[in-house]
């Protein structure tokens, strides 16, 4: 029963947050560029995401000539549906976890790999060389960046002694120096960079590089199919930021009045940072992206892990 309620709540949360994120992104982008952003629909453009969703739903859905129908239409569905289980172990508040489980982090890491499958299907099924290129880039990027991500999370697991997200939050305190980030600053940095790469956000957004590949793997999608990819990307962003909040920033704990509002505040701060980064930096070239991973992030995260293991054993 609880699972059903949780599933519905999670879907509502994703939908609501998708709308909020669309608005936030466009407003922040606008103001960084010294322009107002959405303004006409609703007061200061607050109803813009709803109208956008309406527009996407109303568009014609067609299959490109020669596209593999099954793969083409399954890709957005897979992309979106598979994001839902990722919210299950996240502790939104003291009693607000969908399902307490011992291996929450493992679940998240496992399911986030299915995003790759959706990208592959989209790239191949579109019958479009540009999509194929985008998908190939996306696959290489995601696979590469999963490893330092894993190692950074492992470092935190070492210090906390548990893979359960709710326990990790409970072990931290309310004040910033009691958060895990004070113990593992390098792991946080590595985690955040890998998170940017996993969700295909700038400066690592080559798979959907608008100016090079005309929208990459989702070139051929229109209407709600594109909307699903879009929502899936935002949902992924939310998951990643939520996990970062739970692991590194103390989750729902706060100096006073601990609760779900602290969790949301910290999560939105990280989302704001992600959006801010997107509108500041140019794109990293593909081979440089992989270079960063193999030459910097991987050795650093390994070293961090070793050091953490050593220190945990000693103290």
């Amino acid at each position: 029963m609880r699972i059903v309620l949780a599933a519905v709540a999670v879907m509502a949360f994703i939908a609501a947050n998708g709308l909020v994120l669309v608005y936030m992104e466009r407003k922040i982008a606008g103001h960084i560029q010294r322009r107002p952003g959405p303004f006409e629909v609703g007061w200061h453009g607050l109803l813009q995401p709803i109208v956008d969703a309406g527009k996407l739903i109303g568009k014609q859905l067609f299959t490109p000539d020669g596209a593999d129908g099954l793969l083409y239409w399954l890709a957005p569905v897979v992309s979106f549906v598979w994001v839902l289980p990722l919210f299950i172990p996240i502790p939104f508040g003291p009693q607000l976890t969908a399902f307490e489980m011992d291996l929450g982090i493992v679940l998240i890491l496992a399911f986030s790999g299915t995003n790759l499958l959706a990208l592959c299907m989209a790239g191949w099924g579109s019958n479009n060389k540009w999509s194929l290129l985008g998908a190939a880039r996306a696959v290489a990027q995601s696979v590469a960046y999963e490893i330092p991500l894993l190692l950074a999370i492992l470092a935190v697991a070492f210090t906390s002694g548990t893979l359960d997200l709710s326990n990790t939050v409970k072990l931290q305190g309310g004040w910033p120096w009691q958060w895990n980030i004070a113990l593992q600053p390098l792991a946080f940095l590595i985690y955040f960079i890998c998170a940017l790469a996993e969700t295909n956000r700038a400066p690592f957004d080559l798979p959907e590089a608008e100016s090079e590949l005309t929208a990459g793997f989702h070139t051929e999608y229109s209407g709600m199919a594109f909307g699903l990819f879009f929502l899936a990307e935002y949902a992924n962003m939310i998951v990643v930021c939520a996990v970062a909040t739970a692991l590194f920033l103390g989750g729902w704990q706060g100096p006073v009045f601990s609760g779900v509002w602290w969790f949301l505040a910290k999560m939105y701060a990280l989302l704001f940072l992600m959006i801010w980064l997107r509108w500041t930096y140019p794109r990293v070239r593909f081979d440089q992206l992989l270079n960063i991973n193999w030459k910097w992030l991987l050795p650093l995260s390994l070293a961090n892990l070793m050091l953490t293991a050593l220190l945990t054993k000693v103290f």
Binding site: K129, S211, E212, P282, R283, V284
Partner: protein
């Protein structure tokens, strides 16, 4: 196993079919354009890709051919002037100047000193706006979405300035044989004098945000290595050749107007890569501001159009001339041939972008696809000028 696809099996059009398939069947033949967000116009490049590496690149032109040179044969000398602004709308004053200079050379027409100074001021302002747009568009190609907005903010001031003097914001038909069309409004010089320090204060911000940005440096450094002898073979001019070490500027090589009386440096870089071309253009922004400063100080009073300037039905004396100016993209040339009637017999337009683009095929071999985008951006191509 060798596997040649026959022309019927390769789908596509005339150009795709004749793009010879190599013996390796692993190459992907891809069309970049003509609708593509980062080819700065309707340029089509057929690429043979091996994974991410470009094996062969071949630009296909003509999607924007508007027959400007043919139109010249059916317009009077004055009536052809609006066309010049449309050839390269980003540096319209330079194209205006090239044409008007050719007509003046043909007809032996003098230009008053005030008009010469007005030409310099408007041309340099236009050059700054062209470089700002290039900068913003280049960064847009590379994935940074905000610098173009900051550049357009500055560009807006220039566009307003040029509107106050010529009435247009982009396609200025502002020069006339024998001077300029309108005199400067009263507040113009003060506004230019206020603009120069404003722009100077913005340049460090551009440098800090973009030029020093390590991600951009990695995208531009050692990308598109262009040796000087390749520039010479293709006739590349402008920042492209100055980024490869040669300080060739038409304003100093074949001086025109009052440029011999103005002091400015020619920014040159030796790195031969996209970063070099980038730094040359940023340096040119500063030099334009220097020239503007001197010109607004030195501009004399006088008339803006010489008495007896050609009227619309003016007949040029028989002969032919060539006049070249330094545009934002390189050396702009106009070759006019007159047979004594009121319309030119032939007008040949030398577009710098055409020569600059022709070296792309050789330059892009062996580079990554993302690098190709970076190289195209660093060549500063405007396809309307290439196709004319």
């Amino acid at each position: 196993m060798k596997h040649h696809l026959s022309p019927e099996q390769i789908s596509g059009d005339f150009y795709s079919r004749r793009f010879e398939q190599g013996p390796d069947e692993d190459t992907l033949i891809l069309n970049m354009g003509p609708q593509h967000p980062s080819t700065h116009g309707v340029l089509r490049i057929i690429l043979a890709l091996d994974g991410e590496y470009i094996m062969r690149a071949e630009p296909v032109l003509g999607y924007l051919h508007r027959m400007h040179e043919a139109m010249a044969e059916h317009r009077t000398y004055l009536g052809y002037l609006p066309n010049m602004g449309r050839v390269d709308y980003l540096h319209a004053v330079a194209w205006n100047w090239a044409y008007v200079g050719a007509v003046e050379r043909l007809g032996g027409i003098e230009v008053p000193r005030r008009a010469e100074y007005i030409r310099v001021i408007t041309c340099e302002l236009n050059r700054i706006s062209s470089h700002l747009l290039w900068w913003g568009a280049y960064l847009l190609d590379l994935g940074a979405f905000t610098p173009i907005m900051y550049a357009f903010d500055d560009r807006e001031i220039i566009l307003d300035l040029l509107q106050s003097v010529s009435g247009s914001r982009l396609t200025y038909s502002f020069l006339r044989p024998g001077g300029v069309a309108f005199d400067l409004p009263d507040t113009f010089l003060d506004e230019v004098k206020a603009f120069i320090p404003h722009m100077r204060a913005r340049l460090p911000m551009y440098k800090a945000l973009v030029t020093d940005n390590t991600i951009l440096r990695h995208r531009c450094e050692e990308v598109g290595d262009l040796p000087l002898e390749m520039c010479r073979r293709y006739g590349a001019t402008g920042p492209v050749v100055r980024g490869s070490g040669m300080a060739y500027d038409v304003r100093r090589a074949e001086p025109y107007g009052v440029y011999p009386e103005l002091e400015f440096e020619i920014p040159t870089e030796n790195s031969q890569d996209a970063m070099g071309r980038y730094l040359v253009r940023m340096g040119e922004l500063e030099q334009c501001l220097n020239i503007l400063e001197q010109a607004v100080q030195a501009i004399p009073e006088g008339e803006h159009l010489i008495k007896g300037a050609p009227k619309p039905r003016w007949k040029a004396p028989v002969g032919e001339t060539y006049f070249a100016v330094e545009g934002a993209r390189g050396k702009i040339g106009v070759h006019l041939v007159s047979d004594g009637s009121s319309t030119p017999y032939r007008c040949k337009l030398r577009a710098p972008g055409f020569s600059n683009l022709s070296l792309f095929a050789e330059l892009a071999e062996g580079t990554l696809l993302a690098d190709a985008v970076s190289i195209l951006g660093s060549l500063d191509l405007v396809i309307p000028e290439i196709d004319r």
